[in-house]
Every structure is written in structure tokens, then in C-alpha cells.
């Protein structure tokens, strides 16, 4: 039996019954200017053999180099047991169970996941996960607009130190709903929000303030001051956080006097490999009073008719199959397999293990920053308060230095100018617990060598 159930004859029969000539004709009511053009950049299909060959060649591009790139995805040690357990037949599904109540094991796992995310963020409720951190922030933005009933505004204030790709994703998703993002200015010396700039936004109505901690530049924001300021001015506070960092930093629930209202982030650091960019998962947690505006699935613990413990999908009146067009979100799934891995990772390392990972990241990053600051011509920018990522000012251009380092098999970070987030001589570098003293020395040698090579090259050109 073929996997595709409809033969050409089947299709023709159906078309005959409804009286149209072709499938294309069914789309006639969509105006032609709105219809997709021919997708000329998408190549033709490949055989399995050709596809495997091409992907294994591509995967070589990511292999072997010493990676100091962070900027939203982080290289951490993943205990071998994580994926051994996650890929067992009992767990191996990418999807939310449709016969939810018949899938008690999956529901229990998601319930444990939600409980762990609540412990990490300090907030009351977590959902079963979202696609990734960036789309999670878009969901949080929409949620805040709905939930902030004191504000009539469809404007959200976003610290300009929030990841530029997150900002771009949110803009793509919310603009057509008439929601606008405005930026809160950056203090270019501290590489964090300019607290002097806050007053410029007073007296305006915003539904929410978005703060990232640690921010895109790796720096720590003064989240207490920002949270209290936002609450005083009628805004909800959306925290974008790194789950590893939460083992060391204050949880969003403790920011300022009242705590952040919603916390989101990308779950990749919790046991997911970099894998050339995905799949990862997003998490979202909130205060109990906002739960009815939460997007996505939520698993609850309950008892059955015999009084035995069981797990169930709960608060479904928020969702599409009940609320239709007024559902809180079109999300009706979760990133099942990624969440399974993260739950196993957190279970294995435990709270103390995660704290030690976070501590080791911070120590390694501080060591490298110290070594770089000691070099002539190089400087670590910012206030000096960072977690595991920081900005380096290099002699010459970041682009040339990074290219030369890559020739030397060291991926030295990202060139901030490619995000339009700084001068062309700034590199954002990240150091996690996987790096050894020898790796840090290799970085230093590589960046010094690269800057010298670039200088010689420029002299030659002049």
C-alpha cells in the first residue's frame, strides 16, 4: 500500500463529484497577488542516498572547531544518559499526544518538566513548551497585550539589549495585529539598559516591558530597578532568561518588589545539542493570575474516579478546539522530544549540578575575559558584570579577525556588526563549562595571531 493515500484517479473522482477541473481551481478565491510565486530557490527533491551524502558533508562544516559562539545557543556538556533515555521507544515522539489521557507517561513527563521550569523561574505556572525562545517571546508579547487590562495600549517597550533576532521574530509575528515595539535605549559603555533613558518613556501607555537577563551582550541588567519602574507605570514585565543562568541569578519571580509577570527563554542549554541551529524548544512561565492568557498546552495532576493519581490536559478553554478564533494562541502542540531530553537532563544534573554548570561557565568566561584584557590592543567592554558571554573590542575588524581565527580552527564568537549591534571591531564571545585552560590559551593565541595577520595584511594592502 502506498503511503500517499490518494492516487491520481482518486483525486480526479473527487474533483468530478464537486464539479471542478483541477485542485488549483479550488484556490481561485485567493487573489492572485497574494498567492505564492513559483519557489525557484527550493531545489528539486533528492534521493535518500544523495540527501544523506549532502547532509553528512554539511555536518563536517560544524565539526572539529573549538567553538566560542553563543548568542542564543550554547555548547554544554550533555550526559550520555540524556539521549539514551530520551530516544527509548517509550519516549521517542516529537509530538503532543492526541489521545492525551491514554498517554499517562508522556503527560507525567511534561508535568515534571513544567514543575522544574516553575522552580527555575520561581513563577507559578509553566506550559508544556513552545517552538523556541524567539517565538516564545512573541507569544509572551501577545499574552501581555491581552492580559494587561489596565492598559489600552498596543505598544510594548523592548530593551534594545534584547537579542536582535528575537526582536525581529516578535516584530514579524505581532505587526499584523497592530502591535508595535519601541526600544529602550542602550548605555553603550555598560552594554545594558540606559537608566537615564527611562524618563523619556514616562507618561506613555505601554502594555509591557521586555527585559533580557543576561542580555544579548552577555551583560547583567539591573532587573530590580527596571521591573519596579515598569510596574509603577502600569506595564507587565516579560523576562527573557537563560535557564542555565537561573541556577545562579535571581529568578524572575524575585525581580523588584513584585517580580516579573511572564518569563520566557530558549530551552536549548538544557541537554540539547547545538545541531546547526535546532530543533530547540521555548519555555514560558507566568504568575497564576495570568494563567488564562497562557498559550499552548498545560498538563495538570488530578485523581481519577478511584482516587488514584492521574495526569490530564487542563485549562483547555484557552485553546483553539474550544475557543476557536478567540483562543490565546494557534499553538496546540509542544516540542515533545526536546522537552523530554531537557527533563531528563535536569533530573540527572539536579539543582546542585545545574548550579555547578552555571558556576563553571561564569568562572571560565571570567578567566578568558581577564586574559584578553591583559593583551595589548584588546579590551573587554561593558560594566564587567556578565554571566558567560562578553564583548571584546579587537584591533582591526571583527570580521577579518574571526575569519583568520576560523582558519586556525577556533570559532571566536560573532561579529556584532552583522546584527547591526555595534561597531565593526566588536566580537561577542561565549565560554561555557566545556572549555579547559588549554582551550582558553588556544583562544588567546588564536585571537592575537589573527589580529597580527590582519594588521600585516592591511599594511600590505596600504
Amino acid at each position: 500500500m502506498p503511503f500517499i493515500p490518494h492516487t491520481d484517479q482518486d483525486i480526479q473522482k473527487m474533483l468530478d463529484v464537486i464539479g471542478v477541473d483541477s485542485i488549483d481551481q479550488l484556490f481561485d478565491e485567493i487573489p492572485s497577488h497574494l498567492r505564492a510565486k513559483v519557489l525557484d530557490k527550493v531545489p528539486n527533491g533528492l534521493s535518500e542516498m544523495e540527501m544523506m551524502r549532502r547532509l553528512s558533508e554539511r555536518s563536517q562544516q560544524d565539526a572539529g572547531a573549538l567553538c566560542f559562539i553563543g548568542a542564543g545557543a550554547y555548547e554544554h556538556h550533555i550526559p550520555a544518559a540524556v539521549w539514551d533515555v530520551a530516544t527509548r521507544g517509550e519516549f521517542m515522539t516529537a509530538y503532543t499526544p492526541y489521545q492525551a489521557e491514554a498517554s499517562q507517561g508522556t503527560l507525567q513527563l511534561i508535568y515534571e518538566y513544567q514543575s522544574m521550569m516553575c522552580q527555575l523561574t520561581g513563577l507559578d505556572v509553566s506550559n508544556a513548551s513552545l517552538y523556541d525562545g524567539a517565538s516564545g517571546l512573541a507569544e509572551a508579547t501577545l499574552m501581555a497585550i491581552r492580559a494587561n487590562r489596565k492598559s489600552k495600549s498596543r505598544k510594548v517597550l523592548v530593551a534594545s539589549s534584547v537579542h536582535p533576532l528575537y526582536q525581529k521574530t516578535v516584530t514579524s509575528i505581532v505587526t499584523n495585529q497592530g502591535i508595535h515595539l519601541e526600544n529602550l535605549a542602550l548605555d553603550d559603555e555598560a552594554l545594558s539598559v540606559d537608566s537615564e533613558a527611562l524618563s523619556a518613556h514616562e507618561g506613555q501607555d505601554y502594555a509591557a516591558l521586555v527585559i533580557q537577563q543576561p542580555n544579548f551582550y552577555g551583560s547583567l541588567e539591573d532587573v530590580n530597578i527596571l521591573t519596579d519602574w515598569a510596574h509603577q507605570h502600569g506595564m507587565l514585565v516579560i523576562a527573557v532568561v537563560n535557564p542555565t543562568a537561573l541556577a545562579l541569578l535571581s529568578p524572575p519571580s524575585e525581580w523588584g518588589t513584585e517580580g516579573a509577570d511572564i518569563a520566557v527563554g530558549d530551552g536549548q542549554p538544557l541537554g540539547l545539542p547545538l545541531a546547526s541551529g535546532g530543533p530547540y524548544f521555548g519555555f514560558i512561565c507566568c504568575k497564576n493570575k495570568l494563567v488564562r492568557q497562557m498559550p499552548g498546552r498545560i498538563i495538570g495532576r488530578t485523581v481519577d474516579l478511584d482516587g488514584k493519581e492521574g495526569f490530564t490536559l487542563t485549562l483547555q478553554a484557552r485553546e483553539q478546539h474550544i475557543r476557536r478564533s478567540k483562543a490565546t494562541s494557534n499553538i496546540c502542540t509542544n516540542q515533545g522530544l526536546a522537552v523530554t531530553a531537557a527533563t531528563i537532563y535536569l533530573t540527572l544534573v539536579g539543582y546542585e549540578g545545574l548550579s555547578r554548570v552555571a558556576q563553571a561557565c561564569h568562572e571560565n568566561a571570567s578567566k578568558l575575559a581577564g586574559k584578553i584584557n591583559a593583551l595589548d590592543g584588546f579590551k573587554v567592554l561593558g560594566s564587567g558584570l556578565f554571566f558567560h558571554e562578553f564583548v571584546i573590542e579587537v584591533p582591526g575588524t571583527a570580521e577579518a579577525v574571526l575569519a583568520e581565527m576560523a582558519n586556525n580552527n577556533v570559532l571566536g564568537g560573532i561579529d556584532l556588526s552583522c546584527f547591526d549591534k555595534g561597531a565593526p571591531n566588536r566580537i561577542l564571545a561565549c565560554v561555557t563549562e566545556v572549555k579547559t585552560e588549554r582551550d582558553l590559551e588556544a583562544y588567546v593565541q588564536s585571537i592575537v595571531h589573527a589580529a597580527q595577520a590582519d594588521a600585516v595584511h592591511n599594511k600590505g594592502a596600504a
Partner: protein
Amino acid sequence: MSNIPGELKYLSSHEWVRVESDGVTVTVGVTDHAQELLGDVVFVELPEVDADLAAGDEAGVVESVKAASDIFSPIGGVVIAINEDLEDSPELVNSDPYDDGWFFKLKISDADELAALLDAEAYTDICEAEDH
């Protein structure tokens, strides 16, 4: 047959309206018929006090174990009180829809709008038609 008090006014979307003795304050809730259709009510979202509503505006949501329905303002006015007891005891909507289960009170802006509401007889016809 559900209880449809003769002294109240109604909307076809199953809200009831009681005009209080001052003639400018109205109390709004959902009917006995509505609570029967909804089943056990687990949550009620109410408007903000001071919200200025027009007739037909969404004023809240009533959520039961099997459904969620919008509540519409039957008439234009400013919200002067909400039933805070519903936050902890949403089941009042089931047990006492016309009294303890009220939703919100409005100071109405135009008493002429009351004429557009249904009387008990017209509302009874609508419920009966729905039942068939």
C-alpha cells in the same frame, strides 16, 4: 423548563438585565437557561470597574468544564461594580444565577436603549426554539 423571571429584561445571547429602582443602574448576569447549557462554571472573567461599554461590547468570559462563552454588555454604560465573589465561587452562577450569581452593574448612559431588550415572554420563545 428553566426559570425566566417576568420582571427582568433579556438578550438573545442569554444575559439578563435588572433595572434597579433608581432607573439608571442595571445589574447583569447570565440566565438559568445559559447556566444549564454551560454546565459547571469554573471561571468568570469580569470587566474592569470604570470600563465604558457600548451595547454589544464584550464584557467578559464565562468558562465551564466544557465551554467558554463571551458575555456581552446588554446596554451602553460605565461599569460601577463587579461581583468579586465569583472569583472564588464561580459555582454561584449555577446555583443562583439571578441573585448571588450576578456579574456586573452598569450606570447606563441612555435609558432608551432598554427598549431594545427582550421581555420574559420573547426570551422564553427563543429558549424554546433552541430546545427543539
